[in-house]
Symmetry: C2
Subunit: 106 residues, 2 copies
DNA sequence: TTCATTATTAACATATTTGTTAAATAATGG
DNA sequence: CCATTATTTAACAAATATGTTAATAATGAA
């Protein structure tokens, strides 16, 4: 797991998922419009956006003093695949364990 | 996300996944046998096991001075379901975004 | 130019996670 | 009862994550 994926997966998931969710639902938005939805300060949002940018999950575009952000499909696909692999691991674990228990019982 | 799920999902995933994986693959194991596989000290393993126990992912059984650990199917199912819901979110995000982009292009 | 708006960076504080070593606890065998 | 083994807890250190306020760009308008 890369530091960025780990970072994305970790504590502030809710804030960052909310940011991405807003960008998906409402399309391109300036940084300032994302703060209210996340209930944290501008600088905090700005740093989340930086992480999301570096992780390839959002893109930034300048419009005067504003910075317009959008969700990035390639990034979302990467996350979906990562969660897929993780789900696969746990599903597999469960299957293997249940098989082992059945053998034990037999 | 509960603190325990968050804790489980967070940084030490690899260590804790390795522990659970060993318990699934090799069946019931004493705490001491899990340390080598994880490349950390006994006390560190012990604390991971405590987290896993509290999260309901493993069970503990006394055998003399040893503590035998096993993977717990209900816990694995819970994790599998949690990753499933997460995967669902990201898959859905991707679908929605791609649909939005198609509309834009049209 | 000067001011207002928008966003980012700097400096700092705090909580959480995770590891280590040393001490404590529990069980077993002389 | 004492020594040994297995494990956990205590005390401490370090890294990471995340938030805040204040300072610093960058832009556009008066």
């Amino acid at each position: 797991m890369t530091p960025l994926l780990r970072s994305f997966a970790a504590l502030s998931d809710e804030t960052r998922m909310s940011i991405v969710d807003q960008l998906i639902t409402q399309g391109e938005l300036p940084a300032g419009d994302l703060a209210p939805g996340a209930a944290i300060s501008g600088p905090a949002i700005s740093r989340h956006l930086k992480v999301l940018r570096e992780a390839g999950l959002v893109t930034q575009r300048a419009d005067g003093a504003r910075r317009l952000y959008s969700a990035r499909p390639e990034g979302l696909r990467m996350i979906a695949e990562w969660t897929q692999s993780r789900k696969g691991f746990w599903d597999g674990s469960l299957d293997r364990l249940e098989a082992a228990l059945r053998e034990d019982g037999a």
